[in-house]
């Protein structure tokens, strides 16, 4: 299963001719981190923040995690990532480009599971918006993580009630 979508943002009068794009992607393939970083470069932006979430070898009470298996609601996961990007743009109108990419399927330790890239004229809003995006992804996107560790496997215990991006608290 590879559910791929790129969402182009509309023109924003306040930003004139500057491109305003959001890129949301859910895929079973390795995430194109370098592509997302290059795509986010804009002449008007002096800051790009890239966040990568990687598979960690432990979680609460589970030592020796060897793999994660991410499951998603494929018909809605990409749209929810796009909604997170749109909601970030409502809060930080100066954002240049936002890419939110999430991998699904089986991942090994140290592989990249999620990428957020935000470009902005200045670093403060790039950092703030990127932080907001990853925090909101964790609460609003229908994705579930199953952990396999040394002595068993099970769904991640660090989970959040599913919320709408428009009312997800920071």
């Amino acid at each position: 299963m590879a559910n791929v979508a790129a969402v182009e943002g509309g023109d924003d009068q306040a930003l004139g001719d500057r491109a305003v794009d959001d890129w949301a992607l859910v895929t079973e393939d390795p995430l194109p981190v370098a592509d997302a970083l290059a795509w986010a470069v804009l002449p008007a932006c002096g800051a790009i923040v890239t966040f990568c979430g990687t598979v960690r070898d432990h979680s609460d009470g589970r030592d020796g995690v060897v793999a994660l298996d991410y499951e998603c609601y494929p018909e809605h996961a990409t749209a929810r990532l796009a909604a997170v990007a749109a909601s970030a743009r409502e809060r930080w109108s100066g954002i240049g480009r936002t890419a939110i990419l999430h991998r699904v399927g089986e991942l090994a330790v140290s592989e990249v599971s999620v990428v957020v890239v935000v470009s902005a004229p200045h670093r403060a809003e790039a950092f703030d918006a990127a932080r907001y995006c990853i925090d909101t992804v964790k609460r609003t996107v229908p994705i579930w993580k199953r952990e396999t560790w040394a002595s068993g496997s099970g769904w991640a215990e660090c989970s959040h009630d599913l919320r709408d991006p428009s009312d997800a608290a920071r």
């Binding site: 979430g53 991410y70 018909e75 809605h76 579930w144 993580k145 769904w155 660090c158 009630d161």
Partner: protein, 78 residues
């Protein structure tokens, strides 16, 4: 008849990710699902969100033939 989608722990408890279940409204479909899958599923359902055709739906929302009802346990992406 609703098309039912089950994810994460809800899918595990049901033993399937897809099903078809009769019911006039969301609550009726969920009651029938609990009867079909048992108490383990009912436990998961209590902490889950329920969507009808991609939007959160209350129990009294009418279910039309072909509608898709999804059970979405607490999420853990990232």
């Amino acid at each position: 008849m609703a098309r039912v989608r089950l994810f994460g722990p809800a899918r595990d408890e049901a033993g399937t990710g897809r099903d078809e279940i009769d019911g006039d409204d969301v609550a009726a479909v969920l009651d029938a699902a609990c009867e079909r899958y048992g108490p383990g599923f009912a436990d998961v359902l209590r902490s889950s969100a329920v969507w009808l055709n991609g939007e959160e739906a209350p129990g009294d929302r009418r279910v039309m033939p072909g509608d898709e009802l999804a059970v979405l346990p607490p999420v853990s992406g990232g």
